[in-house]
Symmetry: C2
Subunit: 323 residues, 2 copies
């Protein structure tokens, strides 16, 4: 018997269902078992892919908790159920982030020892190892014990996903000294420092996210989301300014040549290559794609989901939480 398919939420994301179906087909062409969930009449040509029906859709702007409770026949809720019930190996959705997290939590349940799942986002670092930032938005208000769990989850994920033998863990703060930070950070610092199962390097600052000593950056979901979006916004702003300067009248051929020299850098920082963010702490592999995911981003997310199933990510996470 072949491996169970990765379940793709065909209705989730700004470009659903067209780009999502295209991405699933691209993944299938790479030889990965994949199936769709969504409204069968709205998906267009799905080729050889199995389609599990779901007749409701949770929109990007809906309040997550209520949407998941009331729309039990939505593609997001059905995707999580299909994984729970053994019809799929993992789920991928580019839909409403909070709803995906809530559905996965409610249907797949938590790994023992985890109070709240966290969203782990990979930050691509040109010429260096990728960084894992968590929580990047699942829970805005956090407890020290939750951040402690994030350190173990993130550390295990960095090991399984990126082959980093003993990932270093940093706690996001506003000064390197243990007594610097807000109350949450001060209360968390000691928990991380006392845990021999992680390689804690202490507090790090915003300027260390891309270039500092930590493979894994632990923070609450509010701060993590602000960091992620500030980083994305700054890169995007600078890229626009640079393109403007190099294509201005007077920049001439040198500008065009320079844009070509910078293209590899842009490609290395392209979030589409990452394959989405990983929801860590639930009993299953769940990948949350960017709302703007196109076909390649979806195909990459499916590929990562498949790898994480084969790599037995969830078993490793459970082992880390019971250590």
């Amino acid at each position: 018997m072949g491996m169970l398919p990765v379940i793709v939420d065909a209705m989730g994301g700004d470009n659903a269902p067209g780009d999502i179906v295209a991405g699933a087909l691209e993944a299938a062409e790479r030889g990965i078992p994949v199936a769709l969930v969504g409204h069968p009449d709205e998906l267009g040509d799905t080729g050889p892919l199995e389609v599990f029906p779901a007749f409701e859709v949770i929109s990007m702007a809906e309040e997550p908790g209520r949407a998941v409770r009331t729309k039990k026949d939505s593609s997001i809720v059905r995707a999580a159920e299909l994984v729970r019930d053994g019809h799929g190996s993992a789920m991928v959705s580019a839909g409403n982030t909070g709803a995906v997290a809530a559905a996965a939590l409610l249907r797949m349940r938590r790994i023992s020892g985890v109070s709240r799942p966290a969203i782990a986002t990979t930050l691509p670092v040109p010429g260096g190892r990728p960084r894992v930032l968590l929580d990047s938005g699942a829970m805005a208000d956090c407890q020290p014990e939750w951040l402690h769990a994030y350190a173990r989850l993130g550390s295990t994920f960095a090991r399984v996903r990126y082959g980093i033998d003993r990932p270093t863990v940093g706690l996001m703060s506003i000064g390197e000294e243990p007594e610097k930070g807000n109350q949450l950070v001060k209360d968390t610092h000691g928990l991380l420092a006392a845990d021999p199962s992680i390689d804690f390097v202490g507090n790090i600052e915003g300027r260390d996210v891309l270039s500092g000593p930590a493979d894994v950056v632990v923070t609450d979901g509010f701060t993590g989301n602000v960091v992620l979006k500030t980083l994305e916004g700054t890169v995007s702003f600078l890229v626009q300014q640079i393109i403007g300067a190099l294509t201005a009248p007077g920049a001439g051929d040198a500008g065009t040549t320079a844009l070509g020299l910078l293209a590899p850098l842009a490609a290395e920082m392209d979030p589409d290559a990452i394959g989405g963010a990983m929801l860590l702490g639930v009993n299953g592999v769940c990948i949350i794609g960017h709302g703007s995911s196109g076909p390649t981003a979806i195909a990459n997310a499916v590929s990562v989901a498949h790898d994480m199933v084969e790599g037995r990510l969830v078993s490793h996470l459970a082992a880390a939480m019971s250590a």
Copy 2:
């Protein structure tokens, strides 16, 4: 009678006292009344500048509250006293940020209606209006009422400093909807929305800091400091990567030409041109320079301090707080 001098802490900053004294002399050459405070024997050639003696130094790493209480003859504490006692019009220090804020608070006292002062940092935006971010690090744990005061203080500062007639104010969050955010943001949103004295544009996200609708970004000191340093770190990382790509073997003359095309952009984003961060909410003009401030950064900070005294910033802030 001439205007009172701006008091410069000669002992504060990574490059003190040499670069600080040089910066004060540069400001004096621009015609701005300026005086130094510090250990008279350690300042070298201070030219025509008056030197107020202070025989203790608070280092960059000292715990701020304790340092200010115990080192009453430090240059930072003396600088704040000199302003309070009418010997100076304003103070500038590139020393221990927390100590400068604490000394200014203790010696100058608060503006009526302000519970906690905030550090307002200006973010340069090439080709656009500068943004004011506060609090960027004075208080890590904040109350909704403090953030409400920051909105009025920041708005008034943007008007007096940058001539923005009615600055727009955004609240840093992780979604535009009023119900998105952590508890602090949710509790603050309504206070800002109900205040007719500010032009509140609602929640903004990290990606809006440089390019969104808000002239003034209000947040707690933990988040603000993380945003500021993430932004600085991302710019610095990208600049290094770009220089690397454009000076690599094979980049040739086009790379060199392109670096020249990008130089004006780098100059527009240079934090030294900003003149330091402003401590808002105390009864006096107090500028906190970057620890790495060189002579030009100090001279610019003195110049801004002088402008803010002439522009009666503190009176405008007091009026805004009593509205």
